[in-house]
Symmetry: D2
Subunit: 293 residues, 4 copies
């Protein structure tokens, strides 16, 4: 069953808790008694015994919107209390409110805006924030507000302050679509929404400037990209998605950059799609992507 | 959680039935009451409403072997009766008994034997049947009986009769590892075990002899393979797995054959692996492959 | 060496002829004597002996534009005459003039326009022709003329007549970017430029309407696309590029359509890129793609 | 044209030199005058101007074996002297003499032996050297000598001495097929043949023990392998081939190890195939793989 159906009566329940017998039964019995039909159920345990249990359940419940507050309370008081469950109910019909941050390159930003216009992503892009004005003209046709907030090392604090004023409370997700400024731990702790980032990946990794030049000189046969949640450790948060493309000595540095951009936009789009579909559970420094594993 | 753990106490429950509310709850409650801990649960509905519901559940139950007969009876009388469920319990610790049928080419046969020797496949290869003696020497080091049963159009009936005498009741699965003789509907109906076949696949398809020569002349850029369950319609049963490899004008027909063999052995091995792990449910002319979708 | 360098002094020589000893020597000697430095040379013979020989040579020659007419004449009179060579010199600095024909879906069209704006494709899009007005707003920001020419079975002749008036003599390539009308042999013979088409591909192939629905019902594990030159045989011209993406039972028909669109735009973009870089030689019903094989 | 044709009269010429105009013409003219027909020619320049030029030429020359010594001398005295060319002529009909070194795991070793028996690789495996006796039984059916030379840190010098006595002068290539002992710079400088190694690759890289466990904990979505020439810098020689396979949270560490082994044997086999076909030129710390780029 698709979980991208944006039916007003489709709900999603994500939960995780210490693993022990009876959780699936308790949760599914709760939903059945509430009048819901389970459309899809995925679960994962980190260990055969004694690990963390995670579950994503998609259900159909006529009158979901009206019923959700009550279900939340009742689930908290009963099943969640008994099994020590962290959980969240969401409605498929309520798209995530997303802010996209970009700099000068357009490939990741435009791919997200274009997919969203096609109806591929369950999100509402509430604003694009950029530290450069360059992409304003390209964003405008999509009808999305473009906010230019200059940001350099010297004015980082003020820039982040302005960004936070726009973002806090207004977004469910921040996507860094090749935003080329450092995100401080302070910003991360205050923004109040998860952040997804994209970066190129090579085997082996290359440190420093001009990574595609280095990749060319090293003769790598694969060029890749990684989308991950942003944590305080730079480029080292939980990986959501990765992919690579084959390259050879016949590709110039310019070709590598072009192919790298293709992988980046594909990988980031998938990561955002899956996040918006509530498919992703974070566990320690990894992700579980339900239904796309 | 892995479902390949060959623990004596790991059970698998596969079921399908008309979709309606309450199935997941009923099944998981049954297992919990039986003392089982659900290790992994995958399900799929063919339609949002009114379709077919399928589920694969992996559970841990101390003393499984002894308890299984009772569980079978009780599940049939209660949950299965109520929801009109077709089901089957299996034990992860009991490898499938598999016969492999081959002709002259070794790539699919040897890859299965080699993977099995490494412990990658939950199967016990009880015999290799071939219509040619050529591969006997290669099978021998694996300690598997090799049975040569000549088979041509003229002696098909006698050949199938001999094959059936060996197979019936002795195997849980028959793998056609590039077995180049026709399987008759009569054989299929009497063999008493599912059969998996592998064949090459091209875009577009090529009819007739020398498909790699045709693919070369047509300048295809991909060469592929498809593993499927055998039905009465030749090469048209439910698809289990497919894959392709890139080729170009620099590849000779001989190169295409080599690359095609690589894809074939990889695709067939995955299909057999998934079958042996009870991951596959057949529904009409398609398959659902739980946990590898 | 890159062959996408749009240097005014970079030339390309594509040729094919009956294979016999001495061609490479004669051609390279000609270029060397003309003062050119060979930057890249790819060749291919269809058979070890007695087949067709094809070669793509990239060379650097100061003052190329001024020298080209003379080289053309001299090469024709000497090397080409001796070896019975069909050839064509092109300048890397002169982008191909391209018309894109589309209908209502935007993915292939926009991907080409966007890549072209980024400078990824050596082409100049001189017009977009559509049988529907729907995509006009999306094309406008790219600064490319959008021409709406209604076309149905009943008015096909008039529609093709209007299209030909726009295209003949004005374009080096016509790209069918999901243009959903039949192209008649008459149009093809009169348009005066090669045409590239894109279509979805499945294993097995599906005839008739709603191919993604059929693919879903058949449970295919791969969804693909094929870009090819248009010939009089529908969807059966020389294949330029193909690719696939993995799918599973967890994907809805809508997901398949989305993933299919991703493959289509990627495959079509690569085909157009390679054509514009003069990498492709057509031979019988196949293509040789130099440097990307 | 295939370059794997093991025709007695097929020769290969590999060369590299400082780039300047006229090389292709001079080389092809030399071959034509020698009576050879150029079957295939690939070349690569590291820079548009002033870089290194490399070329691989496959040619057909009746009576090649007898003619080769003379050609070698004449080419050295004329073309090579004029253009400062490093070159080597080889005969396609003379398979490379290869030694394979392994430890306890069989996947890379057996895949090479099996492909060689099928005639896929232009090599003659003259011996298998292992620091453990475990794989002797598996090597025996292939008719290849298995030599057990214990090797640990304490007896490294003696072990390498014994290995060198077997290898020096007897092999054209040494393949490390999961040989789990350190190769010393001294060994490398004395062995007198290039060495190819295979190792797993992850994004990001994992240092230390149990890399698949680390990859599992990190939640990587790709598992890969890299084949490279051995240099004094551990695991950092020129990359020949790389590939990856997708994994997810549903895969156990055991699954990752199995999938990693699949990628390793595929990548190593391709690297060895290409080396034996004289497709690979090393340049600084990278490789050019002609015809498979």
């Amino acid at each position: 069953m698709s979980t991208t159906v944006t039916d007003a009566d489709i709900g999603r329940l994500l939960l995780h808790c210490p693993d022990r017998p009876g959780i699936v039964a308790a949760v599914s019995t709760f939903l059945t008694r509430a009048g819901a039909n389970i459309v899809s159920l995925d679960q994962h345990s980190t260990e055969a015994e004694g690990g963390t249990f995670m579950q994503r359940t998609i259900f159909h419940l006529p009158g979901l919107s009206a019923a959700l507050d009550g279900m939340n309370r009742e689930f908290a008081d009963t099943v969640a209390a008994e099994f020590d469950i962290d959980f969240r109910f969401t409605e498929a019909a309520k798209p995530k409110r997303v802010a996209i941050m970009a700099s000068k390159t357009d490939h990741c930003l435009l791919d997200l805006l274009w997919r969203n216009r096609r109806g591929e992503l369950d999100m509402s892009v509430v604003m694009v924030i950029s530290n450069h004005p360059d992409l304003a003209d390209q964003v405008r046709p999509f009808g999305v507000p473009f906010v230019h907030i200059p940001a350099t090392r010297d004015i980082r604090e003020q820039a982040e302050q302005r960004q936070l004023e726009l973002l806090r409370g207004n977004v469910d997700l921040v996507v860094l679509a090749r935003y080329m400024q450092i995100i401080t731990p302070s910003f991360l702790s205050r923004v109040g929404a998860p952040m997804i980032n994209i970066h190129h990946s090579f085997l082996p990794a290359f440190i420093g400037a001009a990574p595609y030049r280095q990749a060319k000189d090293r003769g790598v046969k694969l060029v890749g990209a990684t989308a991950h949640y942003v944590t305080e450790v730079l480029d080292d948060g939980p990986i959501i998605e990765q992919d690579v493309v084959r390259v050879s000595h016949t590709h110039t540095v310019r070709d590598l950059v072009r192919l790298g951009a293709d992988v980046e936009r594909a990988v980031l789009s998938r990561a955002v799609l899956w996040h918006c579909e509530d498919r992703i559970v974070r566990h320690e420094n990894q992700t579980i992507v339900f239904g796309r594993g």
